[in-house]
Amino acid sequence: MKILVCISNVPDTTTKITFTGDNTEFNTAGVQYIVNPYDEIALSRAIELCEGGKGTVTVINVGEAATEPTIRKALAIGADDAVRVNAAPRDAYFVANQIAAYAKSNDFDMILCGRESIDYNGSQVAAMVGELLDIPSISIIKKLDYDGNTATIEREIEGGKEVVSVSGKFVASCAEGTAEAKIPNMRGIMSARTKPLQVVDAVAVEEVGKITKFETPAPRGAVKLIPAESAEQLIDLLHSEAKVI
């Protein structure tokens, strides 16, 4: 079994988000980058499925050389090898085309993504890869079992879940529940340095759009404190002042 896991390089979750150039560019100064948390979940499930010599896990990242520490982290967690498509990840459509191009010339049984990247929150790449390869894609899954040919998947729906079965190749985007994120151990960290990391060129993709400006949410007014003894006042305020109930 061969599994391809797509990993994106994103700002650490504690990052304070600011912009430069008249709010046209994300301010990367002092930002720590990590493996997108959902991709860690996808990777961890892929490693579990391959345990005991049942298969191999390749991670792919579309990014410039600066993303290599993030790729090494994925190798330390337990991926067997890695591919970096050497280009700035312009948008989801560009990224999806790179991953699909690589997957076309390299045979994988399944391709796993995270449910969304925590920077641009597109939730786009997985289903786009599915469409570009003309194979099923299941978005926002929370359970994945595989018997070597058929996958049984639970996906999130409003207020519940849906169980889906797929035979043959597929793409899925993983959310919590799919696996516990694995933490690299010392052996993993040591071996990550020598695991293969192949760099490939990007394919050309037409531009469909781009981010032209960022905004930050308007600051809120000061909090109105209600004494705990008269907590019941809250209901009145929510009704007559805030008008939300």
Partner: protein, 322 residues
């Protein structure tokens, strides 16, 4: 030219988020000086389809093909893209629901369209065709300009509102061919709690954190939510500890929500939690620590022990409801 909106049915009914998507799509159609067509897939009663007219759809394509009774994004995307082509629609709108997230990217690829996911406002013609969407898990917004001829927009629930716009919808059957390879994913089972308000599109949300000490103390959270008609949510450590299901976890690595009211009980307000909830319209924080960071982004705050404060609120709410 026209605008096409996909109306997702759940057990033959449309939810509020669908009417919101229709209202939004109608506003775009007006901007473009064109009409709005809706497409519904699966069995939906005529009376329910007629409702779509109320929000501005002048035509409804109904697809009742047997093989399409269950949602399979690959096949649905093919049908919607085909409808867009047939209708000459260059803008496709849908709700950014769980199914919408699996569908929109496939439609976009088929139509070679730029895709805006998580849109929160109407397009403006600044720079061509630009739409504001959430980014960095609610820590910011990104204005995205689409340059492709076709465009797909997935609207975040609770960001535009439902707007009536009385039109009479004509209903037309549409029965496209479905490729068997588009039906490779097979739906085996659907489990849905019908007595609960679903979190992603809830207008009111009551949420609990580690301050509640254990799952056995969620009774008051659920009671408050039930009385309000609200959905329940929780912080990440709470779902990590299996006190509550993962589907309730909100924040940067959970669901991002923007309800009219978010009540946070015993939640400290870590940056990753705030990311997913800070676009709520009104935030109430109940925490015994006056220094809890959550108070900085709250509209109303109560410094006190949740086990004393929440029962008081519950009785006040009961009295208010009479």
């Amino acid at each position: 030219m026209s605008v096409l909106v996909y109306v997702e049915q759940v057990e033959g009914k449309f939810k509020k988020s669908v009417y919101e998507a229709v209202s939004y799509a109608k506003a775009i159609a007006d901007q473009q000086g064109t009409s709005l067509t809706a497409i519904s897939i699966g069995n939906v009663a005529e009376s329910e389809l007629n409702e779509l007219g109320k929000y501005g759809a002048s035509k409804v394509l109904k697809v009742e093909t047997d093989q399409l009774q269950n949602f399979v994004n690959q096949a649905y995307a093919a049908v919607i893209a085909e409808a867009a082509t047939k209708e000459g629609a260059n803008i496709v709108v849908l709700s950014n629901s769980f199914s919408g997230k699996g569908l929109a990217p496939r439609i976009a690829v088929k139509l070679k369209a730029g895709l805006i996911d998580g849109a929160v406002e109407l397009p403006t013609n600044e720079g061509g065709f630009s739409v504001k969407k959430t980014a960095f898990s609610g820590k910011a917004f990104a204005i995205t300009t689409l340059t492709s001829a076709n465009k797909v927009i997935a609207l975040n629930p609770n960001s535009f509102g439902v707007k009536e716009n009385a039109t009479t919808a004509t209903i037309e059957a549409f029965s496209p061919e479905v490729k068997s390879t588009d039906l490779a994913a097979i739906v085996k089972e659907i489990v849905r709690a019908t007595n609960k308000v679903s979190l992603p599109d809830a207008e009111l949300v009551v949420s609990g954190g580690r301050g509640l000490k254990g799952p056995e103390n969620w009774g008051m959270v659920e009671e408050l939510a039930d009385l309000l008609g609200a959905a329940t949510a929780c912080s990440k450590p709470v779902s990590d500890a299996d006190w509550r299901p993962h589907s309730e976890h909100v924040g940067q690595t959970g669901i991002a929500i923007s309800p009219n009211l978010y009540i946070a009980i015993g939640i400290s307000g870590a940056i990753q939690h705030l990311a997913g909830v800070s676009s709520s319209k009104v935030i109430v924080v109940i925490n015994k620590d006056p220094e809890a960071p959550f108070f900085k982004v709250a509209d109303y705050g109560i410094v006190g022990d949740a086990f004393e404060v929440v029962p008081k609120i519950i009785s006040a709410l009961k009295a208010h409801k009479g």
